[in-house]
């Protein structure tokens, strides 16, 4: 026999202003199965919860209905209160008479009647509730961090320092990401590599971190606490255990004119190469498409066309027949930290973006982007830190910095602001002026976004101390005329067209996700936006989680971000991972779907409809192992409780706990049977 307690909340004025809550409580006193009703000003408060606990004990309640706000707000609160009083928490439900009633209606009489109807439906539902136990699943206490830029390194170090094992994957030959390409960082003008390399070494040497460079994630299956990650270790051609980083192979490689990706096209490298001198690990990789020997093999040459590196290697570390290998790892959490790429103004663009024909499509000499300028300014760069223009190596006496190239430009396909460019353009202007004292730095900007700590002061320094000329207005055209690059801009503050004959132009191009960001997100199984940025679970309150349980995100792969914010986000993601790993088992909400194997016909409609791949096909065997049928089985660890399977099941064999057919029909009946 049901003994349901009904608690109607005033929610201050939020509900009571429109709904006569006392009347609702009074009217439901006589509803079949109701043993106790009351109304109270703030049910979610301590005294309010105490009311629930007291009523459960005193009236031996078998079910609780709190008619108040949305379950999203306080279902957990009241379930916990019930649990403390000894009533299974899943026998407690909420009737939403705020968002669904008092907040959307004005007529008191009608709203009150509706509130009674709503509460009745939930009372009828609760009568069919069953006590449930949380689902407990094991957790593999090992994390996978994808991407080893500053965010990935930070997350890996934090998790590793917290006592858990980390697999750190990086697709390039060295860790460090874009931060390793920078010359100096704002707002302190710290040497970027000087502050980064200690972290890189720490990550490399940490006993809890297993580093795989020149590797990519091939597939990730499973669910929170129980992921299976398959990692492709691309063929390096150099054995990582035998190589001692001596560099003899680099010295003898005949292919010396390959454009270096690290130098962003401003310098060359050999086919067998280490991306930069401070690379971690300091083990070369062979770029097979550009290697003389491999080009020969591709053509079908009988004899290998080269082999100098192998001959020079005293450790016998080079193996031309090495192939990609695969490593499978069981992990409990994944952190995505794949970083960003810069937008290109060229003709070839992915779907949805356009290039800048008015700036010459990237074909005008001496028009470069921010990362290229970093390489020019960097002491370990192609010009050893001297500012020289790429076309003729001359020192430019007039450099124009153009903000917002791609960013804030809906017609080109990017509406957002890339956040870091105002700061790094100010930094570039300052670095230029520090190195070329008689040089002229001109910056065309729209707004200055300098919101971080010390940021506005930094950008003012560029103007007030280093005398960079800041002109507010966007640039219409950039083209080459003889020896100069002509820049047609406008000064909206003084109202004049401005034409600058520049020696070099630096474009602050937009920050975009990596080229394979969307593909990787699909492999991992987390959602992404139209640009390929990973989606956070909630923009305000859950910035480092994704909507896929167990997958966290850190750094610029989620949105344009500077270094301090990326580091903070990485530590936050690490904290989430360690929180996950702190329990012995993972407790999950039992509101999952369960298949009645007796009635299931094995059509697998549910598996096809399930958005989370939570349903498997299982064989039904006789005692002697003979397969006599199939049934569907819902993995309680993966099921997110959406109920889609229940809707498409032909034989009505799968039901979502807490939303069974019986429960839902009883709610509907409640509306029809009672006035």
């Amino acid at each position: 026999m049901s003994r349901v307690g009904v608690f109607v909340c005033h929610c201050g004025e939020n509900i009571a202003r429109t709904v006569d809550v006392a009347k609702v409580a009074e009217a439901l006193k006589d509803h079949p199965g109701v043993a106790f009703t009351t109304d109270y000003k703030y049910m979610c408060s301590d005294p309010g919860q105490a009311l629930v606990r007291k009523a459960i004990e005193e009236h031996n309640l078998t079910g609780v209905v709190v008619a108040a706000c949305s379950p999203h707000m306080h279902e957990k609160t009241f379930r916990n209160a019930s649990d403390k009083a000894g009533l299974n928490k899943y026998m407690c439900e909420m009737a939403n008479i705020r968002e669904h009633c008092s907040w959307i209606h004005e007529n008191r009489d009608e709203a009150t009647a509706k509130a009674m109807d709503i509460t009745r439906t939930i009372i009828e539902k609760v009568k069919h509730n069953k006590p449930l136990d949380p689902i407990r699943i094991p957790i593999t206490k090992k994390a996978l961090v994808i991407g080893a830029g500053i965010a990935g390194i930070q997350a890996a170090l934090d998790i590793a320092d917290g006592g858990h094992k980390v697999i750190l994957i990086e697709k390039e030959a060295s860790i460090g990401g874009h931060m390793s390409q920078l010359s100096e960082t704002f707002p302190t003008l710290d040497c970027s590599q000087c502050i980064l390399t200690p972290r890189m070494v720490e990550a490399y040497q940490h006993p809890n971190i297993e580093l795989h460079t020149w590797s990519e994630v091939e597939s990730i299956d499973g669910y929170i606490g129980n992921f299976t990650a398959k990692i492709r270790k691309k063929a390096r051609t150099v054995d990582e255990d035998l190589c001692n980083g001596c560099g003899d192979c680099l010295a003898v490689c005949p292919a010396k004119r390959i454009s270096s990706e690290f130098e962003v096209g401003l310098g060359n490298r050999t086919a067998i190469y280490v991306p930069f001198p401070q690379a971690v690990p300091n083990i070369p990789v062979l770029d097979r498409p550009n290697c003389t020997l491999f080009k020969g093999r591709a053509k079908g040459l009988a004899k290998d066309a080269c082999g100098k590196c192998k001959e020079a290697c005293l450790k016998g570390a080079i193996d031309f027949d090495a192939e990609d290998t695969f490593v499978e790892e069981q992990v409990g959490a994944v952190v995505v930290a794949t970083g960003f790429q810069l937008y290109s103004i060229g003709r070839e663009q992915p779907q949805g973006l356009k290039g800048y024909g008015e700036y010459g499509y990237g074909e005008v000499p001496d028009v470069i982007d921010g990362l290229q300028f970093e390489r020019l300014a960097s002491a370990s760069g192609p010009t050893a830190g001297a500012i020289r223009r790429p076309s003729d190596g001359k020192e430019p006496k007039t450099v124009v910095f153009v903000h917002c190239v791609g960013s804030r430009d809906p017609e080109k396909g990017i509406k957002y602001c890339s956040k870091i460019c105002c700061m790094y353009s100010a930094k570039h202007a300052m670095l230029y002026k520090h190195k070329v004292h008689d040089g002229r730095a001109v910056a065309f900007y729209m707004d200055i976004r300098a919101a971080g700590k010390g940021y506005d002061e930094f950008s003012r320094r560029a103007i007030e101390e280093d005398h960079a000329e800041y002109i507010r207005g966007r640039v219409s055209r950039i083209f080459r005329e003889g020896d100069v690059v002509k820049v047609w801009g406008f000064d909206t503050l003084s109202g004049e067209q401005v034409v600058i004959d520049a020696d070099m132009v630096v474009l602050a191009t937009a920050v975009r996700p990596q080229p394979d960001a969307k593909k990787l997100a699909q492999v991992i199984g987390c959602s992404f936006d139209e640009h390929g940025f990973i989606n956070e679970a909630h923009p305000k309150l859950r910035p480092v989680e994704t909507n896929t349980a167990g997958v966290f995100v850190a750094g610029a792969c989620q949105a344009p971000r500077d270094i301090p914010d990326s580091v903070a986000m990485a530590s936050a993601a690490a904290a989430k991972v360690m929180g996950l790993f702190s329990a012995e088992e993972l407790e999950r909400d039992p509101a999952v779907a369960i298949v009645n194997e007796a009635t299931c016909i094995g059509c697998m409609n549910c598996a096809r409809a399930c958005p989370y791949n939570a349903i498997e096909q299982r064989e039904i065997c006789t005692v002697d192992g003979h397969v006599c049928g199939h049934t569907a089985w819902v993995n309680p660890g993966v099921c997110q409780g959406c109920g889609t399977c229940q809707a498409v099941c032909l034989s009505k064999s799968v039901e979502l706990q807490t939303f069974t057919d019986e429960q839902v029909y009883s709610e509907i009946n409640a509306l029809c049977l009672w006035e």
Binding site: G357, E358, Y361, F479, R480, E481, G482, K486
Partner: protein, 337 residues
């Protein structure tokens, strides 16, 4: 007027010359008529066509700016055509925009027949001379080779000047990249000449302010002509009567003392030269910047090339003959003489 609508469109393409081509830019019309039959293009001037309104129409009254061109589209439709070529860039722009706006606005499309006093289904596609000639590039190459005379345009450096109305707005650019278009360049290359890479391809010449603010036109034109000159162009190729007039009629004011002016020729005249048609037939004697010196230079170069080739042929023939003699005189190995 024939108001019957045939299911299959009439063969050929309707031709809308516009006021300039019957007046100050006669040579554009003349050269088009001269090259059309050679290239197998059947063009027919629309009967009783009227002014498209050019700038004055749309600058003073939006509806007028749409209705005036629409009348001509209706006329072409009535004559059974599904395509009309408007060589004048302004006319092209107005006709294309009108067609576009009426297609995008069903309310406007409904009102048009009443405004025009004629039936109108907006079924005619509008093209300009560059598109027409670019699509006929193969025919141009073929007929140029078939003239039997040396092509005077081989190796000459030309600057393709598009101006504004052929490439903007993007809706009427017909697939051209508004910042870096290529149709005139393609035609230049099809004619055997060299299209230079230069910076003022799509910068405005001053358009309709030719009379009312000549100083602006001179300022803008100077930048265009000097850039073409700086990039080695020997002439500028245009497809717009207004650009032509601004750069040709007014070039004297833009040219510094001692500087040689740059001839400005229509794309149709260029094709005519490649096809071996006489300069008079193409209206090349009507320009203010004389074209005769350039043509003379080109024909000199063509003759020099021809002579050079003939010489090379003769040398090669002589060498071959000498070798043949040597072989004949040499003893055959292993056999007694």
């Amino acid at each position: 007027m024939n108001a019957q609508y045939t299911a299959t469109p009439r063969e050929g393409i309707a031709y809308y010359p516009g006021c300039s081509l019957h007046g100050t830019s006669r040579e554009f019309d003349e050269s088009l008529r001269a090259i059309a039959p050679v290239l197998g293009l059947r063009i027919k001037e629309i009967d009783d066509w009227s002014c498209c309104g050019a700038s004055s129409g749309h600058m003073t009254d939006h509806l007028l700016g749409v209705a005036l061109p629409a009348r001509n589209l209706a006329l072409a439709e009535a004559e059974g055509f599904d395509r009309v070529v408007a060589p004048c860039a302004a006319c092209y722009n107005r006709l294309a925009i009108s067609q576009h706006e009426i297609a995008a606005d069903p309310g406007l499309a409904e009102r048009m027949p009443d405004i025009l006093g004629r039936p109108f289904r907006n079924s005619v596609e509008v093209v300009n001379a560059n598109q027409l000639l670019r699509d006929a590039a193969d025919a141009i190459k073929e007929k140029t080779a078939a003239t039997g005379k040396p092509n005077p345009l081989v190796g000459v450096k030309l600057a393709a000047y598009y101006g504004c109305l052929l490439v903007r707005p993007a809706a009427v650019a017909a697939g051209e990249d508004s910042e870096n278009p290529s149709s005139i360049d393609d035609v230049i290359r099809a004619c055997g000449a060299e299209a230079v890479d230069w910076n003022m391809k799509v910068e405005c010449c001053g358009a309709s302010l030719s009379f009312s603010r000549t100083a602006s036109v001179v300022r803008l034109g100077r930048a265009i002509v000097s850039d073409a000159r700086a990039h080695g162009a020997e002439a500028i190729v245009v497809a717009c009567p207004l650009c032509h007039s601004n750069l040709d009629l007014r070039q004297k004011a833009m040219t510094a003392r001692g500087q040689e002016p740059l001839p400005v020729i229509f794309i149709t005249q260029l094709v005519g030269l490649a096809l071996g048609l006489p300069a008079g037939q193409l209206g090349l004697d009507r320009h203010f910047v004389p074209t005769a010196p350039l043509l003379a230079r080109l024909s000199e170069r063509a003759l020099a090339r021809e002579a050079d080739e003939a010489r090379k042929k003769a040398e090669a023939a002589a060498k071959a003959a000498a070798r043949a003699e040597k072989v004949a005189a040499a003893p055959r190995g292993g056999e007694p003489e």
